[in-house]
């Protein structure tokens, strides 16, 4: 019952099981067929399912997405991998002008079940072209689901749900989460989209944390706990659809709100969440909501600047304190 699996292994297991369950599931991406296997998330699949179902792809990100779309029209269920989200930017035309609107413009008659995995680099001087997180962009596009799993359990369940579901999905995976472990059942299971989860109950303030910020929020909660401050941590798990109800319920309960999101400050996901809460709660909040985000800046490479650029648990603690003032 208490099988621990890393986030990376959970993704591998979900893909493996989806491929086992349906012969239509295929994996495309640069280097998916290598021993390294995208940080271990595809290792061994080519041996098990053969090179027709696990294919290396040219460094042609736009075509890769379009290939998946066309393949989906013939009944396949492609899973794409991008080693860095930055590389995937080349494919935005395919995503926003075609994939996202396919169902709509076919008058709901045609589906493209394509799953796009994309990894956000962080640390060790990834620098400005290897560390972007555009999850807010993706969540802005109608017709695309966006998963931001923070645990191995969710990574597996959401991945199975996406691959075997009917709506195109973008998976934003924090590289920093890959080695974190969690209890992960062996048999396949689903985590539905649009269902946030309360990771820790509390009463003094709500911290909505996304992806990599979830473990940091839990650490912040532990720190504050020592001072008798009780924090509720909500993990939306998917940004599109966004479970505004669970978030609002928590904020209504605690009456204080911090949103922790490791992406650029302005026009990002944190703003959407704050707005969703105040649209519903209005003046029920006892203090001003606070965002914990990256500054509106590209990523510095230097190891001396990275810690100043990326928010950590202390920034969350400080933000919570601000709401308690």
């Amino acid at each position: 019952m208490s099988r621990q699996l890393s986030y990376a292994k959970a993704i591998l297991e979900a893909t493996d099981q989806a491929m086992g369950l349906s012969p239509d599931v295929i994996v495309l991406g640069q280097l998916v067929d290598t021993q390294s296997g995208i940080f271990g998330t595809t290792t061994g699949l080519v041996k098990k399912y053969g090179p027709e179902r696990v294919q290396d792809f040219p460094v042609s990100e736009n075509l890769m997405t379009a290939t998946a779309m066309g393949a989906a029209l013939t009944g396949l269920r492609p899973v794409l991998c991008h080693q860095r989200l930055d590389f995937m930017v080349y494919s935005l035309d395919a995503i926003v002008n075609w994939l996202g609107l396919w169902r709509f413009k076919s008058n709901m008659k045609s589906a493209m079940p394509v799953t796009i995995r994309t990894i956000v680099g962080k640390g060790w001087g990834q620098g400005p072209q290897h560390s972007k997180n555009l999850q807010a962009w993706f969540a802005h596009i109608p017709g695309i689901q966006v998963a931001v799993p923070a645990t191995a359990y969710d990574a597996k369940g959401l991945m199975l749900e996406a691959i075997l579901g009917e709506t195109p999905t973008i998976f934003v995976e924090g590289r920093g989460l890959y080695s974190m472990t969690d209890e992960v059942p062996e048999q396949p299971y689903r985590v539905r989209f649009g269902q946030a989860v309360v990771r820790r109950e509390g009463k003094d303030a709500t911290v909505v944390a996304i992806g990599l910020m979830v473990p940091l929020a839990l650490r912040a909660a532990a720190l504050l706990d020592k001072e008798g401050i009780s924090i509720e941590v909500v993990d939306p798990r998917t940004l599109s659809p966004l479970d505004r109800k669970t978030i609002c319920d928590s904020a209504f309960k605690t009456r204080r709100l911090v949103v922790a999101d490791g992406t650029w400050h302005s026009f990002g996901a944190a703003g959407e969440i704050v707005t969703s809460v105040v649209e519903n709660l209005g003046d029920k909040l006892k203090s001003k909501p606070v965002r914990v985000t990256l500054p509106d800046s590209h990523t510095p490479m230097s190891s001396a600047l990275e810690p100043k650029y990326y928010p950590d648990e202390n920034d969350i603690v400080a933000a919570v304190r601000q709401t308690l003032k």
Binding site: L21, I26, F57, P58, S60, N62, L63, A66, T67, A68, M69, G70, A71, A72, L73, T74, G75, L76, D93, N97, W98, G100, L101, R103, F104, K105, S106, N107, M108, K109, S110, A111, P142, G143, L160, E161, L164, G165, E166, T167, P188, Y189, R190, R192, F193, G194, Q195, P241, L242, D243, R244, K245, T246, C248, F252, E279, N280, L281, G282, K284
Partner: protein, 372 residues
């Protein structure tokens, strides 16, 4: 001989059409199909402004009937066609129902895409026809469909129709590279009509020859005089045959010409982009006239038959207009449902039905969120 728009008008009157080896009824079918497409487009063109009910941009294909007619006799129902913005010819080629094209243009619920897409984004998934207005996007998706056919070892063929302008886009070359490398069963049909909107190919590319550029990517290419419908029919037939046998991909570059403005019935001649004498050359070499002459000379086409064809087509066009005009407008405003599939039958079957939390149904409509 390499073809080029720079030199093609020197042909004068085109005399190379060769009926040998093409069955008489096929020739007549080709003629009929062109006539049908021509009259359909002419009618839409004429009705556009007076009716004022076709409220979407339309890129007419008058003058470019040869390729659609030739394609229409070779594609099978399970083949896919992916078109660019100038979609009517390809929609027609796929045998998709014309009345649903009319209804789509009229923005009606009975349109091929329920009135949601219009002329430049129309699709008809029942007959495997898809289109879209962003250049090169549909070419790339066509490659993906071919990938699927090869993967599943079917004998289906994916057909991608576009203009020479689309080959300016980098996306097009990613498609060539991958199709060539993987030997995918995809037929690229480039209707080279010289212009992208008002921009001459030679203003945008070093040479007006797409074929020479795709070959080193592993894509077989043939240039043809694109108003020779019989040649188009023969060439397309041969290439599709090879594709079904695993000998892909191929490109056909058909030099042809658009008679109308780039978009809509409005006159765009103020932009003075056409070469002198060019329109006259192409009208004199109208694909319907070229084939008609040959068919008459061969005694296949008579005045009576011609009149019957015209009547048949006129009746069809009238019926299509009637259908479009009498159809209801869409009223649907279930935006979420239009954009997202909430049902997941395969996941339900393979993973069991998992219910969703209360949040799911309500996250959309904040008004319902209460009790705040």
């Amino acid at each position: 001989m390499e073809l080029s728009h720079r030199t093609i008008t020197q042909i004068g009157h085109y005399r190379d059409m060769d009926l040998t080896g093409t069955a008489p009824d096929t020739l007549l079918k080709l003629y009929f199909q062109m006539l049908r497409l021509r009259r359909t487009e002419e009618a839409l063109h004429q009705e556009y402004h007076p009716a004022d009910e076709m409220r979407c941009p339309i890129h007419f294909c008058i003058g470019q009937e040869a390729i659609p007619a030739a394609l229409s006799l070779h594609v099978r129902p399970d083949d896919f066609i992916f078109s660019h913005h100038r979609s009517h010819g390809y929609y027609f080629a796929k045998g998709s129902p014309l009345r649903e094209l009319f209804a789509e243009i009229y923005g009606k619920a009975t349109g091929a895409s329920g009135g949601k897409a219009g002329s430049q984004d129309i699709s008809h998934s029942d007959t495997n026809f898809y289109s879209g207005a962003i250049l090169a996007g549909a070419v790339s998706i066509a490659v993906g469909a071919a990938f699927g056919f090869k993967h599943k070892r079917t004998k289906q063929v994916s057909i991608s129709g576009f203009g020479e302008g689309c080959t300016d886009e980098g996306a097009f070359w990613e498609a060539m590279n991958y199709a060539g490398k993987q030997k995918l069963p995809v037929l690229f049909v480039c209707e080279n009509n010289r212009y992208a909107t008002f921009s001459d190919q030679l203003k945008r590319q070093a040479d007006d020859n797409v074929s020479a550029r795709v070959r080193p990517f592993g894509v077989r290419a043939t240039q043809i005089f694109g108003n020779d419908t019989v040649l188009a029919h023969r060439t397309i037939g041969a290439e599709i045959e090879r594709l079904r046998n695993g000998d892909g991909p191929a490109l056909i570059e058909a030099y042809t010409y658009r008679w109308n403005s780039h978009v809509g019935p409005e006159d765009d001649s103020a932009n003075a982009y056409r070469q002198p004498g060019e329109m006259e050359f192409w009208k004199a070499n109208c694909p319907i006239v070229l084939l008609g002459e040959k068919l008459r000379a061969a005694g296949l086409l008579t005045d009576a038959l011609s009149a019957r064809y015209e009547a048949e087509v006129a009746a069809e066009v009238a019926a299509n207009f009637k259908f479009a005009k009498e159809s209801p407008f869409p009223t649907d405003t279930h935006w979420r449902q239009m954009n997202y599939a909430d049902a997941s039958p395969l996941a339900d079957r393979l993973l069991g039905v998992a219910t969703r939390g209360a949040g799911f149904d309500q996250y959309q409509d904040e008004a319902k969120l209460g009790p705040y």
